[in-house]
Amino acid sequence: MIDKIVNQKAWFFILPVTLLVAFNAIIPLMTVVNYSVQETFGDNVFFWEGVTWYEQVLNSDRFHAAFLRQLSFTGMILLIEIPLGIAVALSMPRKGPWVSVCLVLMALPLLIPWNVVGSMWNIFALPDSGLLGRMINGIGIDYNFTQQPVSAWLTTVVMDVWHWTSLVVLLAYAGLCSIPDAYYQAAKIDGASGWAVFRYIQLPKMKRVLTIAILLRFMDSFMIYTEPFVLTGGGPGNTTTFLSIDLVKIALGQFDLGPAAAMSLIYFLIILLICWVFYTLMMRHEN
């Protein structure tokens, strides 16, 4: 860490960023706050409602159900993607021509537009004309993600694993590459087992990048909208209606602006809170 000089003029450097982000964040966020405490019947006529919408959202079964679905989805993909990402990163070559090949191929899913990811998995998993659907049905399992809740749920999880595990791989791989060879040589001299090398050398070195990976994956999966929307449309029934899909349904579909705005703020605060708690815990552990 470099010691920094106190310089209030530095504010001029961050002024453009502040203005641009404030322009994008504060004005729309104020609109949301505005809607969340008022009732409107159009024509810019508003009535003060106080915390009615917040109470309504917090007490609604629909919100609870969507929130639980969201939590279990995020929990599931984190439990799969983080260990899988580490395992793949460990097995990647450290040098040689294959490194580039691996990196390029693995980064590919990250740069595909999210609705294309949805369409791609739709085509891939169709029970009659998709490769995956055909294979699963071929081995005797009845599978149809447009009609069976379990299939829809599993397809969404596998799609997310396909889409985002590479981010964890890239981060974990970067962490592994930063370990000097001397560490491994020392471990070899000490006769350390493969597990010991992983537990006492590789894992500690990857800790920071893994924290970032978990944070990013948590945030992004908690906001997931496009991929499940294109794949299943939130169905069958409500089985894959996550928080964002539900929010868009309420805000743009039913145009219930008050409840939608209250839900938006609660949703945003939940993400902030979880990120903050996680980050603080990780940092405290480090010190």
Partner: protein
């Protein structure tokens, strides 16, 4: 020994195969006729056709979608990195009133679900007359790309020793001359990584891009969803359009492939 080497490579090999299967299936579909897709199941096209691609390259509603998307993505990348550079420099070199709070506030915008902002953005950009323009989408995407760019660049800049700045100032460089001629080339790798991420997140985002556009600036991704719902099930065309959206990303990855791993390790990302 040899077997154990194969075994060691197994997870990454299997993982890459798993990644490639859906992409292969998409490309496979894009060379098939709609009749073949719905009629027979085959692992490769039986009646190979380029018609789907021909439709896309000759129909303006399709190829304009690509031009629109690339326009706002490049605009956004340039804006985000340009304004993030001085800000990241300030965060990495100076202490000032409220610096930590500012940094955290910036990052909270990265945590804001786009679904929360869709409706207010629509109203806001309509009110200031920017609805359905490329700049509207480019500005809207700044919401999550600027914090990310600042975060990445700050990590890289903190890795550059402060002596570099001091020596340059002693040599009589003015601040901006030093910044542009010496500092920016020094952290070129970081700028590459930041641009990669800005490009990526702007290119893949659809919810805001779709909400803020209707005709003139409609992104390719929105063209796809609307075509899919209006003209029935033209899977071949959809697959061809999807395949073409993978290409710009593949190009970008190819150019920054050596920086990605290094960038993550150096930067504080």
């Amino acid at each position: 020994m040899k077997i154990s080497i194969y075994f060691k490579w197994a997870p990454s090999t299997l993982y890459i195969i798993f990644l490639m299967l859906p992409i292969y299936w998409l490309i496979n579909m894009s060379f098939k006729t709609t009749n073949e897709i719905l009629g027979v199941f085959s692992l490769w096209p039986q009646q190979f056709t380029l018609d789907n691609y021909k439709t896309i390259f000759t129909d303006p509603t399709w190829y304009n979608g690509y031009i629109n998307s690339l326009t706002y993505v490049v605009t956004n990348t340039v804006i985000s990195v340009a304004v993030a550079l001085p800000a990241a420099y300030a965060f990495s070199r100076y202490r000032f009133l409220g610096d930590k709070h500012m940094f955290f506030w910036l990052l909270t915008n990265r945590m804001a679900p786009p679904a929360v902002f869709a409706l207010p953005f629509f109203q806001f950009y309509s009110a200031i007359g920017l609805f359905d323009t490329h700049i509207a989408v480019a500005l809207a995407h700044c919401l999550f790309n600027i914090p990310l760019a600042v975060w990445i660049l700050e990590g890289f800049m903190s890795g550059v020793p402060k002596e570099l700045d001091e020596t340059a100032f002693l040599d009589g460089y003015s601040f901006w001359r030093f910044f542009i001629r010496i500092f920016v080339p020094t952290i070129a790798a970081g700028i590459g990584v930041a641009m990669f991420f800005c490009f990526m997140y702007s290119w893949v985002e659809l919810l805001l891009a779709k909400t803020l556009t209707s005709v003139d600036a409609k992104p390719i991704a929105a063209t796809m969803t609307r075509t899919a719902s209006t003209s029935g099930y033209e899977l071949g065309l959809l697959a061809a359009a999807g395949t073409l959206t993978i290409i710009p990303g593949a190009f970008v990855i190819y150019f920054v492939r050596n920086y990605i791993a290094r960038g993550f390790a150096l930067g504080r990302v």
